[in-house]
């Protein structure tokens, strides 16, 4: 029982990441009809916003300490963080400690700008082009973004810890009446889940309750008609693209403490997130979210020893297997609309 609850928690957590990426991907599919292979790269850039924030906060000046020597036997240079010099060691250290949450402040404007530039500078010219061309150009862009990040940050993962207050685990089981230390779950992963829930809720509320959202939803359903109403749908779509980029970026920034970011993490997520979006059904936001959580939970269950001992290697293929079964039983995924990306 405890094992199952733990795997459900894991599944929700994995699902949060899938759902957040898939949500942005679907927004772009649904509103703009663009297959964005660079979406994983946006997630990666978000994670590197956290890394950058950490780097900014740990910018240091060097002083020479003649009493110590470095590995070459020369006098050692001691690095002091500017923030510690300016705000005192305590405030400075806690600022550094809180780098990841603070990076949200960096990630939002950066991702909005990247999204805006990407849409106006590149994607805009590909709305009427075949999907194949969209794939080629966005894939090229993804490679370019990746290589730029690799050039500045290297290929090795970069540890980006959560604030000390969120390290360690929460005894979840005691809440449910289990013995202590049976069902424990890391604080930061719970933060991530809550964060994902807030973002998903905010996006839905935005689309549901604002005029802007209403127009965009109408545009998703029937772009031409909305265009005929004299509404400047293009400008709104640009904003949607920025929003999708911001969602991906925030998902990435907050993900940094869970797994150390590296430059190719976007590609690792790209294929999975496409599977999630399609299983959810093209053009359906709730579908993308539901599929994200469903696949996350199934993946967590498939990695349980009890299941692996019956079906060796099932954890390697579970997502794909489920995707095949769902697509064969439900032609348009869980909640897909007819005619979207079926040609």
């Amino acid at each position: 029982m405890d094992a199952i609850i733990l795997q459900i928690l894991n599944g929700l957590d994995k699902g949060s990441a899938y759902a957040l990426i898939a949500l942005g991907l679907t927004l772009i599919f649904g509103t703009l009809g663009v297959v964005n292979f660079a979406h994983g790269a946006l997630f990666m850039i978000g994670a590197f916003c956290a890394v950058t924030m950490q780097r900014l906060l740990t910018l240091s000046f060097e002083t020479v300490d003649p009493t110590k020597t470095d590995f070459l036997g020369k006098p050692m240079k001691i690095k002091t963080h500017y923030v510690e010099a300016w705000f005192g060691p305590d405030v400075g250290a806690s600022l550094v400690d809180w780098a990841v949450p603070l990076s949200i402040l960096l990630a939002i404007p950066v991702m909005l700008i990247i999204g805006y530039v990407m849409e106006r500078g590149l994607i805009k010219h590909f709305y009427k082009r075949p999907h194949a061309d969209q794939i080629l150009v966005t894939f090229g862009l993804a490679i370019v973004l990746q290589e730029i990040v690799k050039h500045y940050y290297g290929a090795n993962p970069i540890p980006t810890g959560a604030p000390a207050a969120f390290r360690g685990s929460f005894d979840f089981g005691q809440l449910l009446g289990f013995d202590p230390n049976v069902i424990i779950y890391p604080y930061w992963r719970m933060v991530y889940f809550a964060f994902a829930a807030v973002i998903i809720g905010a996006v839905f509320a935005f689309l549901q309750f604002t005029t802007f959202g209403m127009v965009v939803r109408a545009g998703m359903a029937d772009r031409e008609t909305v265009g005929l109403l004299g509404i400047n749908i293009d400008r709104r779509f640009t904003i949607m693209f920025g929003l999708a980029a911001a969602v991906a970026g925030l998902a990435g920034a907050m993900y940094a403490p869970i797994n150390s970011p590296n430059y190719h993490m976007g590609m690792d997520f790209l294929v999975l997130s496409f599977v999630v979006v399609v299983v959810g059904g093209m053009g359906s936001l709730p579908g993308a979210v539901a599929a994200g959580f469903l696949l996350g939970i199934l993946e967590a269950f498939a990695s349980m020893n009890e299941i692996k001992s019956i079906l060796p290697g099932i954890d390697q293929i579970i997502i794909y297997l489920v995707a095949i079964i769902i697509l064969l039983t439900r032609p348009r995924g869980l909640l897909g609309r007819k005619g979207v990306m079926e040609e």
Binding site: D2, A3, L6, Q7, L9, N10, G11, D13, K14, A17, D70, F71, L72, G73, M76, K150, G154, A155, N156, P157, I158, P159, G161, R167, G168, S169, N181, V182, I184, Y185, P186, W188, R189, I258, N259, S260, N262, H264, M265, D268, E299, A300, S303, M304, N305, K308, P312, G313, D315, Q316
Partner: protein, 463 residues
């Protein structure tokens, strides 16, 4: 835009044949006149450095490349000479190899056996490389080693830790300086016993591919031999990035040690996840819960950050060793690049020097003669009585006295057991050396079951 670097076949450079030549039947690029593949006939010789330049191991590849460039400098008599000065064999004179200037070509393995073989082939076929070296994974090492065997050039393996490289998949033309999974396990077991006691229950997470399997098999055998129990061994997909669903079952499994048979990004993530789940603070069976990472590297330590504090593993070499060879190498590398070398860099540097030295001693680039020289002699490691304790004995390349064993082309030397530092003084002191396990303890016979099944076969000169 001068001259003729980095291209093939000295024969052409001498310009002996002008006008339309005769079509000559050849295998690979050895012309009928030469006795072996890519016989250098001009004033230079080309080595092929095949390292990962893209993909997750690109940084490791970059460090390997730095070491190679340094080695080439030293061989050509530039720079401070590095470990050439401390190397016990004095055959190298700093005038290239056999008087020929050393040149090199580089390629990208992408950490894929296909791409690595393509890159190595291009070095052999297009650039006339006489020796191929490098790599950062065992799959690639085995693949390229097989290719070099067929092509008739020497392969000096880079970072490859699987038992198979000099076990099941060993080849006459292939040579490994790096240690292997068995040695890691043999070195770790006594230290683990000393640190954590005999009564331990271990839970293994193992990367689901060749290296992971041999690593797990080795460490399980070694720890069980000293009394540990193995609670479970769970295979994890290579592409896995989030290990939470594999870590969670550990919590209530009754295990008090977690062994992470992971490398690179896998290890960084699984360790980070394990620490997140509070395993380091856990008490099980009245003991502190411990995590063991059998194979460490500086880059992994860097990637995992604070999570490695106190976690034990093994290394082939570390720049903090105190011997003369290490000091010379660190000085030389650090001066040129500004930071200390990684173990991948050291093994690549040593392999290049060992190759060059063997050529000098053999007096020829013929792979068969070079191969013989690489493991030549009846010298043996002291303190080990075994018929297979035979090969080329050397010192001064950073690992103390080392035997290049002729039976399987594996180097035998001391193995380091290291631990993640609690409070590293800087980014170069992430790990500290716990113990240098003497070579006698990691010795095994060539027919050990974990290494059985392969044949070295005959050396192939390619002609």
């Amino acid at each position: 835009m001068s001259k003729t670097d980095v291209t093939r076949r000295g024969m052409l450079k001498t310009g002996a044949i002008a006008g339309a030549g005769v079509a000559l039947p050849t295998i690979f690029t050895a012309s009928s006149a030469s006795a072996y593949t890519n016989e250098p006939t001009g004033s230079s010789v080309t080595l092929g450095f095949n390292v990962p330049q893209t993909g997750p191991y690109a940084d490791e590849g970059a460090d390997e490349l730095r070491a190679y460039q340094l080695a080439v400098e030293h061989l050509n008599g530039e720079g401070d000479g590095g470990m050439m000065n401390t190397f016990s064999s004095k055959a190298l004179k700093g005038n290239g190899i056999l008087g020929k200037k050393v040149e090199y070509v580089t390629g990208d393995t992408q950490t894929k056996s296909d791409a690595a073989r393509a890159s190595a082939k291009s070095m052999i076929e297009k650039d006339g490389a006489i020796m191929i070296t490098g790599g950062s994974s065992s799959g690639v090492a085995v693949a390229v080693q097989g290719l070099c065997q067929e092509a008739g050039v020497i392969f000096m393996a880079g970072l490859t830790h699987s038992n198979d490289t000099t076990g099941k998949d060993k080849k006459a033309n292939g040579y490994r300086h790096f240690f292997n999974a068995y040695m890691s396990a043999a070195a770790l077991a006594p230290v683990l016993e000393k640190l954590y006691g005999k009564e331990r229950r271990a839970y293994h997470l193992t990367a689901d591919y060749t290296w992971g399997w041999t690593q797990q098999e080795s460490i399980q055998a070694a720890t069980e031999a000293m009394g540990w129990q193995t609670v479970n061994n769970v295979l994890t997909p290579l592409a896995q990035t989030d290990f939470s669903s594999y870590i969670a079952p550990v919590i209530n499994s009754g295990a008090d040690v977690l062994v992470l048979n992971h490398y690179g990004g896998n290890m960084v993530n699984s360790l980070t996840n394990a620490v997140q789940f509070g395993l380091r603070e856990k008490q099980v069976n009245g003991k502190n819960f411990e995590i063991v990472v059998p194979l460490y590297s500086e880059l992994m330590a860097k990637g995992a950050g604070k999570n490695i504090a106190g976690i034990v593993g093994s290394q082939n070499w570390d720049w903090k060793l105190e011997d003369e060879g290490t000091k010379a190498f660190v000085q030389s590398f650090g001066t040129k690049y500004g930071f200390p070398p990684s173990q991948a860099a050291q093994t690549c540097y040593a392999q290049t020097l060992l190759y060059a030295d063997a050529v000098e001693r053999a007096g020829s680039f013929d792979p068969c003669a070079v191969g013989e020289a690489l493991v030549a002699g009846d010298s043996s490691l002291p303190g080990i009585s075994s018929d297979s304790n035979k090969g080329f004995l050397f010192d001064g390349l950073g690992n103390g006295q080392t035997l290049y064993r002729s039976a399987d082309h594996q180097c035998f030397k001391d193995v380091l057991v290291v631990r993640g530092a609690e409070n590293p003084s800087d980014e170069f002191h992430l790990v500290e050396i716990v113990e240098v396990t003497p070579v006698a303890q990691v010795w095994y016979e060539p027919d050990h079951p974990m290494f059985a099944g392969g044949e070295l076969g005959q050396c192939n000169p390619g002609a």
